[in-house]
């Protein structure tokens, strides 16, 4: 469904953030993108919706080439790609409802959005989503009154109300405590499964990624060095991605945590 072909990004400073990345993601697949800081994870997902302009190569979403689109066609294409951010990137001074509805900006005209006269169907969908992420009682609160986990739930609702085919998720848990991190990851993955959405999730926490996703991609210096199922990640692979370190502990804890979590839920 999503296909990256020889995607390359060179910044004006000369840094090669992405070196000819090839990637194919089928419908409904949730992919974790791991790699050290500066490996190009953020650049990769921003090149897909062109918040960062790729230098060369192509991005194809459902057969549509995105890199050559003009600005209005690009806006239409962006509507089908929901994005979730590390520090939530909510508009802090707007209410939860306004933040969720802002996901519809690509579908409504300027004056309707400026006067907050969204179609009733959008409002209904916003309430449904807020209920789904467990924030239906918060609709009228201002975004800056919420806790980190709550804000990220609003961010998720904003991305989903776009009616996306693909979620681009940039470090969704990096600002959250371990428990909330898991809840957020679980929520994202459940929602993807419910709606048969594909997602690319940038994540630093390898163990957390292994718990939830079907496929892991390791990025290093702008190149893919691992692409496979999460349980195939070996200490050697992590060494190749991140550099020398004792990885046994990282991988082992997964199973224990998983069991503890299962027990807790039951």
């Amino acid at each position: 469904m999503l296909h990256l072909n020889k995607l390359t990004k060179q910044y004006a400073t000369g840094d090669m953030a992405l070196k000819s990345v090839e990637l194919e993601i089928p419908k409904g697949q949730v992919v974790a993108l791991i790699g050290p800081s500066g490996a190009g994870k953020s650049t990769l997902i921003r090149c897909i919706n062109r918040l960062v302009e790729p230098t060369s190569g192509s991005v194809t979403l459902n057969g549509k080439e995105l890199t050559k689109l003009g600005s209005s066609a690009l806006r239409q294409a962006r509507r089908r790609m929901g994005m979730i951010f590390q520090e939530y990137a909510l508009v802090e001074r707007l209410t939860v409802m306004e933040n969720v509805l802002s996901g519809r900006l690509g579908y409504v005209g300027f004056w309707r959005s400026f006067l907050r006269k969204y179609p009733q169907s959008d409002v209904d969908e916003a309430f449904r989503l807020l209920e789904r992420v467990g924030l239906d009682h918060m609709a009228d609160k201002r975004a800056d009154e919420l806790s980190g986990g709550q804000r990220q739930r609003v961010g998720i609702a904003r991305a989903l109300i776009q009616d996306p085919e693909l979620l681009l998720v940039d470090e969704p848990t990096a600002s959250l405590d371990p428990k909330t991190s898991r809840q957020i990851m679980r929520l994202i993955c459940e929602l993807c499964a419910e709606r048969d959405l594909a997602a690319i999730i940038n994540i630093h926490d390898v163990a957390l990624a292994q718990m939830f996703v079907q496929r892991v991609i390791g990025l290093r210096f702008g190149e893919i060095v691992y692409d496979g199922p999460p349980d195939q990640l070996k200490p050697e692979t992590l060494t190749e991605i991140y550099g020398e370190e004792d990885w046994e502990a990282t991988i082992e804890t997964i199973n224990e945590d998983d069991e503890a979590e299962q027990g807790g839920v039951a």
Binding site: N49, M81, F110
Partner: protein
């Protein structure tokens, strides 16, 4: 930071090394010399007799000014109302013009760096660098005396002030919020309305009431050059040495300024 090693091979740390410290002392010395020289020049150019005489003269005028001529206040309501109108309408006009200029001047929103940003900065600098009293003088000559000239003078002088503070606020916004709105497929104007405007609203409100507050004070003297408001009465009263009227006018101005300070403090607290 200076780190050196003394003879016991101990590491010594000082904020500055010796040369930097000596340079600093030299700069202090030059500064003190310049100040003393200036003081001397001013002293030579002053007729000290008048200065020594000042307390007596001040006392004399003060004595004549007391008590204020209270009945005169009935002639001041109208000019006071004019003054407040000049300040308020002038501020509103200036904001209407300053907002687009600020968006053109801010690095992150300007449509074009050379064709939009530089002209905008030029407008900001040129309107800011000329005092409103001088704008009023020019405008009285151009469009004739009266409230209209005063309002325009206040408006023109305020454009640069408001636009400068506003464009600095625009440049300091959190770009992540803007990025998030862009990612939804929002148009350029929607990005401004959702990503930028909510972030600068507190600054905008603060700047508006702050400038309105300054403009109340500035508009009280505009009448001096014929641009309407209470300054006209002030000038007339001083010209005929009607000190009890002058003292009343000053009291009224004082009250108006305190009131405007209170209003702007309240508004700012309510918004932020």
């Amino acid at each position: 930071m200076a780190i050196s090693i003394d003879k016991n091979s101990q590491k010594i740390w000082a904020v500055r090394d010796r040369n930097t410290q000596l340079t600093r002392w030299f700069v202090y010395f030059v500064a003190v010399t310049v100040i003393m020289y200036c003081w001397q020049t001013i002293s030579e150019a002053t007729t000290w007799f008048f200065v020594l005489d000042a307390p007596r003269i001040a006392g004399d005028i003060g004595g004549r000014a007391m008590p204020p001529k209270w009945p005169y206040i009935n002639e001041l309501w109208k000019p006071l109302w004019d003054t407040i109108n000049i300040a308020t309408i002038g501020t509103v006009l200036s904001l209407i013009i300053a907002v687009p200029i600020a968006f053109m001047a801010a690095r992150n929103t300007t449509p074009h760096h050379i064709f939009c940003r530089w002209p905008a900065l030029l407008i900001i600098v040129s309107t800011r660098s000329i005092n409103s009293l001088i704008w009023a003088l020019l405008l009285v000559a151009i469009i004739g005396p009266g409230i209209f000239a005063g309002t325009i003078a206040i408006a023109v002088r305020s454009i640069g002030f408001c636009a400068k503070l506003l464009y600095e606020a625009i440049e300091e916004i959190d770009e992540k919020q803007v990025e998030a709105i862009k990612a939804t497929g929002a148009s350029r104007w929607q990005v401004i309305a959702y990503g930028i405007v909510p972030q600068i609203m507190p600054s905008f409100a603060g700047i508006s009431v702050f400038r309105w507050d300054i403009n109340i004070r500035e508009s009280t003297v505009l009448g001096y050059v014929g641009a309407g408001g209470i300054g006209l009465q002030l000038k007339a009263s001083i010209d005929v040495l009607a000190w009890p009227q002058v003292s009343l006018i000053l009291l009224v101005i004082f009250a108006a300024v305190i009131l405007s300070e209170m209003v702007s403090a309240k508004v700012r607290a309510a918004i932020i």
